[in-house]
Amino acid sequence: MDPKERMKIPRQKMPEQKPDVRAKNFNEVPFGYTEELALKEANRCLQCKKPSCMKGCPVEINIPSFIKLIAEGHHWEAIRKIKETNSLPAVCGRVCPQESQCESYCIVGKKAEPVAIGRLERFAADYERRSGKVVKPGLAPPTGKRVAIVGSGPAGLTAAGDLIRMGHKVVIFEALHKAGGVLVYGIPEFRLPKEIVQAEVDFLADLGIEIHLNTVVGKADTLDDLLSDGFDAIFVGTGAGAPLFMNIPGENLSGVYSANEYLTRSNLMKAYLFPDYDTPIATSRIVAVVGGGNVAMDSARTALRLGAEQVHLIYRRSKEEMPARSEEVHHAEEEGVIFDLLTNPIRYIGDDKGRVVAVECQKMELGEPDQSGRRRPVPIKGSEYTMELDTVIVAIGNGPNPLVPSTTPDLEVNRKGNITADLQTCKTSKRGVFAGGDIVRGAATVILAMGDGKVAARSIDAYLKDPGWWDRPAPEPTPEKEEKKAG
């Protein structure tokens, strides 16, 4: 096939559940590519000599190579190629914001739609998992060193997976009763089936990683306890798990949830199966979700599936500024979520039992760009109106959890409470302690957290082999690396 022919193939859609059907169940929305569709899509890749797509992937997957292997029908080899640098492809293929990462750099995207890199990655990963024959990597000979990983989100899991391959003993400490971080308690089943996360966790346990659930570091043991208990290094990947509120009147009424609470009840505690499972969640008629990111979309779509008649998404800017993945915005719209854009809640109104019954909102218009480059929303005077509802889900963001820093006096944090770490190495201010993912970056993405986990594993390995490594300054970043970061 010559490039011209390749360019003529349209981007292949993933078959998915119909909107009216899926809005009533918790099953995964897209079914994934069939082999035939995957082959077609793989043939769209031009196999660039200098593949620009790779610049957009924080873990540097060799994209043209794995796509070529799929095109040739060598799906086994394809997944092995991906796994050389990405240990959670089934997850990334589903939740990476591809349109602003790898796919935004794809050359095909200049003229037509970019190659569906994420969907192909997902195809290869699912192919392997469904076959039940997941290949175990070889482990380096034991080094006798022990590393503690605090938090089992994508950052912690990635660091753990890489470190055990390097021959170190790895123990993960997780506060909740299931490993996976946001992947299990935040992102809903219909977007990321929990079975997939569990398979990845089981795989790590199979490699010999010890996982201690129900262990809140900072409460049970502190970082110092772990270091004096014989751990040679620690990676902190505790995420951005502390929900933010707007501090407007009525926010503590019954029926006003943080997105974390709403999603945790539904995902981790399976409240959608109440009363078979014991954890309850609101039965709602009219729901307002406040926010415009992935967390807000997930909350809104969960509320629909829990039976709400109307779900409003209240966002203070316009659709273009929404930080959510475009695919999820599209899915939410198709399913019937009502977008109240350029709107901001100013107070919640309760009844005599303290239950929320209405929200007062204000319309906004876009003014001058702010620091983030997005146009700042400004309230329009006299535009206030109230809307009846019975449930509110606040999804305006998450801050860092202070439990670890507050019990580790010599661990530096910034003004917002995020742990200070050099992203080149993930080194913190405390000797032997590394950190990455959302606890360092603030709420970011799965793939960036995984990228940090990789960098940290490499640094920890270097440090364990030669403790003097800690005192040497990190090498200057190469210009190419810089470019990647800017992407």
Binding site: A175, L176, H177, Y185, L213, N214, T215, V216, K219, A220, D221, G241, A242, P243, F245, N247, E251, N252, L253, S254, G255, Y257, S258, N260, E261, T264, R265, M269, K270, F274, P275, D276, Y277, D278, T279, P280, K353, G354, R355, N401, P402, L403
Partner: protein, 283 residues
């Protein structure tokens, strides 16, 4: 898995459970709690650590049966296990030698006040304890509390045991007889804590209460345990569970506790019903 090594009935619907959790037993301090999950379908439910035994590696929980989970717990026997236990959670009680302190436990609150009174006594305070219950049968832990207190006052609402009256009346007696109370710790039903707080505010006695909102994770992640203290929103699981009683918005706490009342009742009734069917089936 955490094996249950002892169970006991303290009063009708009031039970004790001692279970294995060596790490938590070693680390825990007065005022802290755990969250447990009985089985895969279970809720995450918080309980104060009433006592611990580091040699045996066990924790003692005292609980009242009010809904499904606590009913399930009361049906467990020695040798059975609890699936998940996480802790110790929350901030420990601030313990120092204040002088004379009064610890008040009402109903289930006795279980929560006990470890705090014990720790305060251990730090050299003169501890005067007040225990209150609706009626004689509901009173428990009297001997245990007496053993760690310099003085103990007991009252019941109906006068069936101890003095007849409410804990606030006992507290008033102490104040009237001229006790210089440096601090009051009051733990029990929300209305009780509210009335104690109202009284001690009048007499300007610093007062601590331990709050019991609905919780999920217990590590500051969900915000479901939020309360208002001095006008600011606090997360009880990480900022508490103990707060300055004079600053707490008890109304809000009561209302938020009622959020799931209908569903909890539904769940409990289904459970009771299924148990009854079991019995009929067996008979």
């Amino acid at each position: 898995m955490h094996k249950i090594v002892r169970t006991d009935t303290l009063a009708p619907s009031m039970f004790l459970m001692e279970l294995e959790a060596p790490k938590i037993a070693e680390k825990r301090k007065a005022g802290q709690f755990i969250i447990l999950r009985i089985d895969e379908k279970g809720e995450r439910v918080p309980f104060t650590i009433s006592d611990s035994d580091t040699a045996r590696g066990t924790l003692t929980l005292i609980y009242q049966v009010v809904g499904k989970t606590t009913a399930q717990m009361s049906a467990l026997r020695v040798g059975d296990s609890i699936l998940d236990v996480v802790g110790p959670l929350g901030k420990p009680t601030h313990i120092e030698n204040f002088g004379t302190v009064c610890c008040i436990g009402g109903g289930t609150g006795i279980a929560i006040a006990y470890p705090i009174a014990k720790a305060l006594g251990g730090a050299g305070n003169t501890v005067i304890s007040i225990l209150g219950a609706r009626t004689k049968d509901l009173l428990f832990y009297e001997d245990e509390v007496r053993a760690i207190s310099n003085e103990l006052l007991v009252c019941t609402d109906d006068g069936s045991y101890g003095q007849k009256g409410l804990v606030t009346e006992m507290l008033k007696q102490l104040i009237d007889r001229g006790e210089k109370l440096k601090m009051v710790v009051a733990i029990g039903p929300v209305p009780m804590m509210k009335f104690v707080a109202r009284m001690t505010k009048e007499y300007e006695i610093p007062t601590i209460v331990s709050l019991n909102p609905i919780m999920i994770d217990g590590s500051g992640m969900c915000g479901c345990c939020r309360v208002s203290v001095g006008g600011a929103t606090k997360f009880v699981c990480v900022d508490g569970p103990e707060f300055d009683a004079h600053q707490v918005d008890f109304e809000l706490l009561t209302k938020r506790l009622a959020t799931y009342r209908d569903k909890e009742t539904e769940s409990y009734n289904r459970y009771k019903h299924s148990k009854e069917e079991c019995k009929i089936g067996r008979g």
